[in-house]
Symmetry: C2
Subunit: 937 residues, 2 copies
């Protein structure tokens, strides 16, 4: 950075270019803007962010020219007002405030009433005819200067004030007389002398110099650094400093200070909104000593100022083309504007404002799309607690605990401690909250029928959290104070015990758990007119398709309502977990290995026999092998179980096809390791150990021992990387056959009903082209056969998930056998990072993020450097082999705005996410397209 | 392929270009070569491999011109010999043999004596004056033609022959008279008529046509396809067909057939080696009906023919500049050469021949290096069973079982069923074979002290196999017939039970397990003069460094002896498993979480307090936190355990540094999940369940319950992807501190003894630059501190393993904090493929390879398409950031020749492998360099 002494470090508000927010900071730019519009802004000047950086570079010294320019700018202000800083007769007072490029509310420092000393305070009293006001201003200045500039603690000043009030028997500060305040000022000066070892600097120019330096320094205080780190604001921007003539809202009943919004930041309603305090300085409004009044009251109290404020608010909104957050002061009935900035707003307000502003012709539809945070609108669609009812119950002490806000929404219901019972009661229409130490795939049928899920363990991407978000159900996970006793069917927290059946309430947006019932409000998407409008606009702009992950017709219907254009992932195995199917699944799994071994042997011999003469020993062995197959009860069990499951699956898929009515439906073949469907090894081990010792029921023992052995032979060190995905379809081809048969049969059936169908069959976990070649060739035969049998022709596709690094690295080869790719970014992140999500989240990943080792949790926000590089590579390689390759993403990242932006940039065709995130994804996709346009300009 | 009718499909031996092995096949090229050298080769011609491919392309039809050219070439042969195919008076007989580019011994078909029918057989009898010979030739032809060309079964011919012998009361074929054979010929013709429904084709030209087609077809018979798949020979090469005038070794006592090697293929000794049979055709030598005689006997029997053979053998060896495998026939004392090809040889022979041929000036050193298979020489260095003793014991029925030949070498010792006892006995000097259902890291101390390892489960890259290969100890794994009962301390196989303490023997090179003792022979590297010579030449040629993975000074010394240039991987945690250290390790682990939490909290507060005033509440909290740290028994246990371990580790490292005397030693910081050092969860669960039911010893129950809880909180779903590697160094920094302190202390100590040291500290499992940045910065402080304390200066380096895809993808960022990379290709393969080696090998990976889904097991041969792509990327990105980055590999692939070739091509600086593979790697590295030179030409 140049420290050229001729460099301009300070700009009068009247001469600054309001568009140079980078140089002037947000506050300075706003003041310059308002000044240029002729609004009543007390004169002042801005010391630039460059000056701040130069100050740091010079080792905390003003750069050459800065002080001279400050003095000169101050002179211009003095001249404009006919007052002078330090003039005992006609003193100018100024405020010194920080103002960075990005808003950092409350993070940095402010000094008001600068310029007072024992001489000027008298002049101020004389000038205003109000010595009490003058001393009140002085004591405020001393306190603020002492704390902010000299680094003394609040407490000493506060305690002294309290003593003074006690002495004067004053109830509030306002009850202190001029004399009381004068005494207080002297005491404050002692505090400063004691605390710093030096006299309070009575020279106003010295005060100014120190205050500017203090503001510069505040850019790098711990609070400010932490805030920037948290918000992702760069640390090398520096802050500007605004020096501005004071106006006083505390000069009597015809004076006031306040804040105002041009539209209601909570609802978005177009009306001046805010609050003010008569006879007060700005900080009093925030301090909460007196309760501020609604801005509408100002209309009655000071109608002239109100009208002006309203006019200026509209003027500023038009100028900025966005809702503004204003600070103002009224001094003796005259309105002054002190700040304008873009207003923060809730999700409903953001949507309402954006649509309204388009209607008003203030902004374009494209701008409206950029005015809403995609992540925010997720909340708009979920049931939420009625706030009044929630406050009522909190007052009665109903808050039990806090956990992670794992999946938003709100629900009340009976606490139930196992999935079976949750399903039983839930399917009867009762409201149930499933409470578990943690959940696993065995619990899904219970989660399906529960209103909400509460777990003691597990992070934001634990099984419970992921499934709940997928289902759009509230979930509080990792609620660590909870002691869940599934045997006693109770949980305990903070000494309170909740029995099974007692009603509890979960707020998934805050992570709160309550005892008792809270009324909820459920939004209807179609009634959220403004949201529907915005999302219609989004569809006009976005390039990415938005599909949904849905396993059941009800999910699919929800997704369609939210605007999904297809099903990007139907996890067939979720259907296996339903209570009436699980015994069939067990039968199939326990017979699979033996049946497959026998059948594979026969098939192998058949091939061999085909090329040998009729009486070679091979033929004999083939006959023997076929006999074994024919006699095997495993083979019988295996195929009868598969046939039964096939019927269920056909119904499931037909249901999905009917709902989706011709839109693409991607169905994934079985993915999890088979042992996940069986009882847990550890549970069986305990059972068997008990039975062995007690000697009870030897028959049961024998049965359990056999099961234990089976489960033992199947369990894996690292199931994530074990026998799952396509590996199952290779080893147990009959399962995949059954699924493909069910998909095609269902498709034929629905097509017969006159409804078009577009099934796409997705093969998961491919790592090597040899795998997909083998499986696709086998399954094509099945698909052709089913169509021939049913005499129908289905426009189906085969494709694969890209969820292993090797699949991405060799995507050109894999694309030879895949008509579409779908990135499974959950597993791709796990393998690329070598991190097991289940293990890592609680044990080290969250700590990594907290300690800044990772910028964010890669399971929530897609890791562009690593995983993203593989995705780009796969898209490029895949399209090299097959230019028309259709590419999407179906991992959880498909619903995350930042990740969706990446998907757009990487050239994907669509994203697929849980139904409730479809609106989020539509908006994020539109924003990504708009940002692209901006870059392409 | 063009089927231009003018294309040349057939070449006379005399006109063919011997260098066109691709066109002529190996046999044809050899015949052309010998013919061009003027050796006595019966005339003939070769039909090209192109003709074979064209035949397939035309739908099993001869391409245009082929038959005409065949007839013409036959004419030339007839003219040369003055005989004619089918001439009843002067019949020419020919052989028709396949001959592919790569040798496929026994895989394809051959027909001898073609041209015989009822007329020519009489002519042949007349011509030779030996009607018996003529009918013998005819019946051989009918049998061979019937089987090979007409597809009939051997059995019918064999049975008829047996009956004929019975009828004639003949003991052998030779006892059958001309009349007997004549009758047999008629019976054979009936078999052919019955089997094919047609008469035997008596027209010799028809015979020839059918025979050529049969040879073409034999290229695609199942045996041939399986063989090529197994050997990695492409399927699209086709075979050539050689048609050659017959000569007869069965024309009486002055005739013979035989095979000869120019040098002994078993020992490499330079002397004619082989065997022959007088009065026999070539197939009789192989058939084993009569026992062939040693070639040296020929010298006495037919001195003239022998001298010629010897002369021609030398001539051919000079021509081919390699040992040859020859086929010859002597017809009435005249020698004919029928085949020459490069001789297959054993490992010792390959080495001896290569060195001798350089001495003889036959080949260059570079050529010598290419003549030895690197994989072979591994065997040269391991103890092996005395073959005589092994045969002796096999005869007595001592072979118990066969498993996988997981790690070569041979050992005998007492069967011992747990690691503790194996260590106890082994350390007393007793010979022990550790027998386990499977092994895990808990067993390493036992493996260290065992002579060999036998497991019932686990593949070629199971824990047992990998560790055994690392230790250079024989291992038979996956011996599935074994039922190991660790409680009863017995194993059973095939009905035989072996008690603990009984002596057994393992042959790790064959996978055999024997009952009883077998004497072993242990080679000494320095005495393997030829091998040492070859490896010296390798060092002159290779570019790659060859380092070794070694955890202990003894391993390091072995590695040095074999020529290692550094230690590429010292796994510090192996030292933790030693019996006297394990209790200390347990103490450390059980205290780690609590101690770290307390200390981290205090450290966090310390940082916060540094920027706040002295009496802020932060300081109070800091004081409290420090008090807690001071009082905590966990903190005390943690640090006292670490201090004790530190002492052990310092000794360990000092030992390594002394042995390596200034060569680089890469020490990896702790890598496995801490729970791997604790008792198994399942074992504790059973213990606790038992104690709960029996109610015995409540105190023990309490203790075990506490331990169970600890282990439960630490165990992981997917430990491979869990809290391990650098993640441990981040969460439990004190462990890494201890290790770095030990490394630097040991280095200072050894340097003080006057021995130079070059320690390199390797941080495992980095995935994100933030991780290595954090850890390296912390450990640099420790390293500096130790050196300052000990007043010494060590030339150390910090580096990392690249073993996660993300590390490879972001290697440019990671190289900012790493001075070296070492590819951990075991884990990199696991994560890139998404395959857990432990789970996959037995469950599906071997089946994948068997079914041809994967070309080979990626844990044995580096996967170039996937993992290799990441390696190339990482090398390029890493060197972009840090051009002097030193790059190696320390996964198991570092000892695999194909993978070493890849490492050379990818520009790595060195490979590191287990000590016993160092010679292999040296040779493979030299070969890679030579192949590079060839490509660069």
């Amino acid at each position: 950075m140049s420290t050229n002494p001729r460099k301009k470090w300070a700009y009068l508000f009247a001469e600054a270019d309001p568009s140079r927010r980078d140089l002037l900071g947000g506050k300075g730019a706003g003041l310059a803007q308002m000044t240029s519009m002729g609004l009543p802004v007390p004169p002042g000047f801005t010391i630039t962010t460059e000056a701040c950086l130069a100050y740091y570079e010079s080792g905390d010294q003003f750069p050459p020219g800065l002080w001279e320019q400050t003095v000169k700018a101050l002179g211009a202000v003095e001249k404009a007002l006919g007052k002078k800083l330090g003039d005992p007769h006609n003193p100018l007072l100024v405020s010194v405030r920080s103002g960075a490029r990005f808003s950092m509310p409350g993070m940095m420092d402010t000094v008001l009433n600068l310029g007072l000393n024992s001489e000027t305070v008298a002049g101020l009293g004389h000038l205003t005819g109000d010595p009490r006001f003058a001393y009140d201003s002085y004591r405020r200045f001393l306190h603020m200067f002492g704390k902010t500039v000299l680094g003394l603690k609040d407490e000493a000043f506060e305690e002294t004030l309290e003593k003074a009030k006690a002495r004067a028997k004053a109830r509030t500060d306002a009850d202190l007389s001029a004399e009381d305040l004068k005494a207080l000022v002297q005491e404050y000066q002692v505090i400063i002398k004691t605390g710093t070892g030096q006299d309070f600097p009575s020279d106003p120019m010295k005060q100014l110099e120190l205050a500017i330096k203090a503001v510069f320094a505040s850019w790098n205080n711990k609070r400010a650094i932490d805030y920037r780190t948290f918000q992702g604001i760069p640390h090398n921007l520096g802050t500007a400093v605004n020096v501005q003539a004071m106006v006083f809202g505390n000069l009597g009943a015809d004076s006031a200070s306040g804040v105002a919004f041009t539209r209601d930041p909570a609802t978005g309603e177009k009306a001046l909104y805010g609050e003010y305090l008569a006879n007060a300085q700005g900080e009093d409004v925030v301090a909460g000593i007196r309760t501020p009044r609604k801005i509408s009251d100002l209309k009655k109290e000071m109608p002239q100022a109100y009208r002006e404020l309203e006019r200026m608010a509209q003027q500023l909104e038009r100028e900025y083309r966005d809702a503004q957050d204003l600070e103002f002061t009224i001094e003796h009935s005259k309105l002054y504007m002190l700040q304008t900035r873009s207003a923060k707003r809730t999700a409903p307000a953001a949507v309402k404002m954006a649509v309204a502003m388009v209607a008003e012709g203030l902004i374009t539809k494209e701008e409206a799309l950029l005015r809403v945070e995609p992540a925010q609108i997720y909340q708009l669609l979920l049931p939420r607690f009625d706030e009044t009812d929630k406050q009522r119950i909190i007052k009665r002490g109903a808050l039990l605990a806090r956990g992670l806000n794992a999946s938003p929404g709100a629900a009340s219901g009976a606490a139930i401690f196992d999935a079976d019972r949750a399903q039983e009661l839930g399917s009867r229409g009762e409201s149930v909250i499933l409470v578990r130490p943690e959940t696993n795939p065995d619990d899904v049928h219970g989660m399906l029928h529960a209103k909400g899920i509460l777990t003691a363990r597990g992070g934001a991407t634990s099984h419970a959290a992921v499934v709940a978000r997928g289902l759009g159900k509230p979930c509080v996970s990792g609620c660590e104070t909870l002691k869940v006793d599934t045997v006693a069917r109770t949980f305990e927290t903070d000494g309170r015990v909740i029995q099974e059946g007692e009603e509890i309430s979960l707020d998934g947006s805050t992570g709160e758990v309550f005892q008792g019932h809270i009324a909820t409000v459920e939004p209807k998407f179609s009634e959220e007119k403004d949201l529907v409008t915005i999302l219609d606009w989004a569809n006009q702009v976005k390039r990415l398709g938005v599909w949904a992950n849905a396993d059941y017709p009800t999910d699919a219907a929800k997704a369609l309502e939210f605007g999904a254009e297809g099903i990007g992932l139907c996890r067939t195995e979720h259907m296996f977990f339903q209570t009436e199917r699980l015994p069939i699944v067990h039968k199939m799994i326990l017979a699979a290995a033996e049946a497959t071994a026998l059948e594979d042997e026969a098939a192998r011999l058949e091939i061999e026999a085909a090329s040998t003469e009729a009486d070679s020993p091979i033929h004999h062995r083939l006959t023997e092998a076929r006999k074994k197959v024919g006699k095997s009860s495993a083979v019988k069990d295996y195929h009868s179980a598969l046939a039964e499951l096939g019927k269920f699956q056909t119904q499931d898929f037909a249901g999905l096809f009917r709902v989706m009515a011709g839109r693409p439906v991607i169905i994934r073949l079985i993915d999890p390791p088979l042992h996940e469907f069986l009882p847990k090894y550890e549970d069986l081990l305990v059972e068997v150990t008990k039975l062995r010792i007690t000697g009870e029921s030897p028959k049961l023992l024998e049965e359990k021992e056999r099961l234990l052995q089976e489960v033992d032979s199947m369990r894996e060190m690292n199931p994530m990387l074990g026998l799952r995905g396509i590996r199952l379809s290779i080893l147990f081809g009959a399962i995949a056959d059954m699924q493909v048969r069910a998909i095609l049969s269902a498709a034929c059936q629905v097509l017969g009903e006159g409804i078009p169908v577009h099934p796409e069959i997705m093969i998961p976990l491919v790592g090597h082209v040899g795998e997909i070649k083998t499986v696709r060739e086998r399954l094509e035969v099945v698909a052709q056969k089913v169509q021939a049998e049913l005499k129908c022709s289905i426009p189906y596709k085969f494709g694969t998930m890209i969820e292993l690094p090797r699949a991405a690295l060799t995507a050109d080869e894999i694309a030879r056998y895949a008509e579409f790719f779908s990135f499974g970014t959950n597993d791709l992140t796990q393998t690329t990072y070598g991190i097991s999500r289940d293990d890592a989240e609680g044990k080290f990943l969250l700590q990594y993020v907290r300690r800044g080792i990772l910028p964010e949790n890669p399971f929530q926000v897609l890791d562009r450097q690593g995983v993203g590089k593989l995705i780009r590579m796969a898209v490029e390689l895949g399209r090299k082999t097959r230019p028309e390759l259709h590419v999407g993403i179906c991992g959880e990242h498909g619903g995350d705005p930042s990740s969706i932006q990446f998907c757009h940039e990487a050239g994907l065709d669509y994203v697929s996410c849980s139904p409730y995130r479809v609106p989020v994804a539509r908006l994020a996709a539109a924003q990504a397209a708009l940002e692209q346009r901006e870059r392409d300009k």
